[in-house]
């Protein structure tokens, strides 16, 4: 268990280093910081002084080292577009994205898992067929269509939920939350549903297939031959056998929601990282884009690490596979 944990953490650190090196190469080679920082009539001497000041004459590896040192000290560089520190921009936008991801994950778990289990246990019931029909729709429809349709119905026709923004937020020191106000909750419902539509349908289909397969296995038949109640058989014996792939997918999906909610954030004018990323791309704001890349990499790696560390708790056989 200890070696397993250590090796997973080690792998994570290595991958994060590689990601930050790629991001560094991006900052170092894309665009020209000199032309961005110097005025048009700067002299050669001024130019040389700036090169010295930014350390651009240093070899690549030592520049990467100082980039990392700065990064670890919290200096993430300065945005070309707003001339603000990148760290400040990210911290401002982070709560919105994380809260949106969190709420859609809750939707996904509380709708997707029960529905998926139901469909896996009773694959032939009319309700299951209905759920599967709905899930085909959910998988086919692109996010922005779902978002626009929800806005059309709930914001325009019924006028009960807002179509943009986060509503009122409450500041808790460095974290501004929308989850403590009524308008904040009203604002988060539609984008969270939009984001979770695909995830829910995905989890339903996956759980269903897995459960139908496990339901055929000899150990389930043997449990029946011992008279074990059907509820224990399905909700404990069978579901536990499906958890490995389901948790893996949920983890990847959570990463996806945090990192790539660009479209949904844009549809709902949600002030999160997705819209920051979009604005940065439009302005070729390389420092922000690079840090965003590292951030996305880190999010995936940390979630993945958490998922992998949970494997031995679900299926002790993973510790044996070396």
């Amino acid at each position: 268990m200890l070696t397993y944990t250590a090796s997973r953490i080690g792998q994570t650190i290595i991958v994060l280093l590689i990601i930050s090196f790629i991001a560094f190469l991006l900052v170092a080679n894309l665009g020209d910081p000199l032309s961005a920082l110097l005025s048009a009539d700067a002299t050669v001497a001024e130019r040389a002084a700036l090169i010295k000041q930014l350390g651009l004459e240093q070899p690549m590896l030592s520049r990467f080292a100082s980039f990392l040192t700065n990064f670890l000290q919290g200096d993430l560089g300065t945005s070309y577009r707003t001339q603000e520190p990148v760290a400040k921009l990210i911290v401002e936008r982070l709560p919105a994205t994380v809260e949106l991801a969190f709420v859609s994950l809750i939707f996904t778990i509380f709708v997707g898992i029960p529905a998926g289990i139901f469909c896996g246990v009773n694959p032939k019931s009319p309700i299951s067929r209905g759920i599967m029909l709905f899930s085909i729709t959910g998988i086919t429809l692109p996010n922005f269509v779902v978002g626009i349709a929800l806005i059309a119905v709930f914001s325009v026709q019924l006028a009960i939920l807002p179509s943009f923004g986060r509503g009122e937020t409450v500041s808790l020191g460095f974290w501004s939350t929308g989850l403590l106000t009524v308008s904040g909750w009203q604002a988060i419902i539609l984008p969270a549903i939009t984001l979770s539509t695909f995830q829910i349908t995905f989890i339903i289909r996956m759980l269903r297939t897995q459960l139908m397969e496990v339901g055929q296995s000899e150990h389930i038949r043997f449990a029946r031959a011992r008279g074990v109640p059907e509820t224990t058989i399905w909700f404990h014996y069978a579901v536990k056998n499906t958890l490995l792939p389901v948790i893996t997918m949920l983890g990847l999906q959570l990463g996806n929601i945090i990192a790539f909610s660009v479209v949904t954030e844009n549809v709902f004018a949600w002030p999160g990282l997705g819209s920051l990323f979009l604005q940065s791309i439009q302005a070729a704001d390389i420092p922000v884009i690079a840090i965003y890349l590292i951030f996305v990499g880190a999010v995936f790696m940390i979630i993945n690490l958490a998922v992998e560390l949970s494997y031995p708790l679900i299926d002790p056989r993973v510790l044996r596979r070396k």
Binding site: E218, R226, R317
Partner: protein, 327 residues
């Protein structure tokens, strides 16, 4: 004669395939007395396992029981509600599956699987059930039973797992144990241990047993009475000694002769039965064995011989053998 513990009468199981109904079991009847070991022997596809599963209604669709009466100690099993059936399964009838590599849940501890089963059938608290589980692991011969309780199936060898399977089948003190090829999936060296264990447990508790196997050696060691199955029908039911010394059905004799034997000259002798058992739905008219039978006559090719009792044996043959195999 005492009342049979289990009685199976005219059990018929069909396999629905599109528009066709194929008979997998055709009017099978037999009974088991209290404390008796009945061995069911036959080739693959003869309907042995289907019989075992049909008794506790554990058939996998498209297999379906279409008729027949099954009684356990006078109580009808074939008409039970699912709820009542659940208390019979594992409670009064234990079931040992063939392959211990697949019949244990890989992600649930052995203790949890045992305790769940015990508490399904017996009114015991958590601690009492736990103690009973440890006791059973000890009885089936697992070392360190209290540690084994917290282990997962993959941490045990095949033979150890089959011991766990046997504990799972017996832990609620059933009156009948159905063992479906309990040693087939195991190494030869382990097979003997498992058979010995089953025999010891049977002697200790007096549980009746329905032992399904294709191995006449296992039958000779374990069974009191033997039912020979052929193509979904009972060919012969005899006391074990009678079966080996004076088989009545030509198929039984063929089966016994097909067992490899050493001749006086030290050569291994094999006398396989010519031909192959017909597949499901490809049964000839009359007796299912007639195309392979050296004694088959016209009546065998038109009429299905009924099971008739003569001396100690019951057999389904118009022209039974009369000679003894022992000189």
């Amino acid at each position: 004669m005492s009342m049979p513990l289990l009685e199976v009468k005219d059990l018929t199981v069909t396999l629905s395939r599109q528009d066709r109904q194929i008979m997998a079991l055709d009017n099978v009847s037999f009974s088991i007395k209290p404390g008796e070991v009945l061995g069911i022997v036959g080739e693959s596809g003869a309907g042995k396992s289907i019989t075992g599963a049909a008794i506790i209604n554990l058939l996998v669709p498209p297999l379906r029981r279409t008729s027949g009466i099954i009684t356990l100690a006078g109580e009808r099993l074939d008409t039970l509600s699912p709820r009542a059936l659940r208390s019979v399964r594992g409670g009064r009838i234990g079931f040992v599956f063939q392959d211990p590599m697949t019949s244990l849940n890989p992600v649930i501890t052995i203790g949890r699987q045992l305790i769940d089963t015990i508490r399904t059938h017996l009114r015991l608290g958590r601690d009492q059930a736990r103690r009973k589980a440890i006791d059973w692991l000890d009885r089936v011969g697992l070392p360190n039973p209290d540690l084994t309780l917290d282990r997962y199936p993959h941490q045990l060898s095949g033979g150890m797992r089959q011991r766990v399977v046997i504990a799972l089948a017996l832990c609620a003190d059933p009156v009948l144990l159905i063992a479906d090829e309990p040693t087939t999936a195991l190494d030869v060296s382990v097979q003997a241990h498992i058979l010995q264990l089953l025999r010891d447990l049977h002697r200790e508790s007096g549980t009746s047993m329905l032992l399904i196997t294709h191995d006449l050696g296992v039958i000779a060691k374990m069974a009191d009475t033997v039912a020979v199955f052929y193509a979904g029908r009972v060919a012969e039911i005899s006391p074990v000694k009678e079966l080996f010394t004076r088989p009545r059905h030509p198929y039984t004799e063929g089966l016994i002769r097909a067992t490899p034997a050493l001749t006086a000259a030290g050569e291994i002798q094999l006398n396989p039965i010519a031909g192959a058992m017909p597949g499901l739905g490809a049964l000839p008219n009359g007796c299912g064995f007639n195309p392979r039978c050296p004694k088959a006559q016209d009546d065998c090719r038109t009429i299905v011989p009924p099971l008739t009792q003569q001396d100690l044996s019951a057999f389904a043959c118009f022209h039974p053998l009369e000679r003894s195999l022992v000189q």
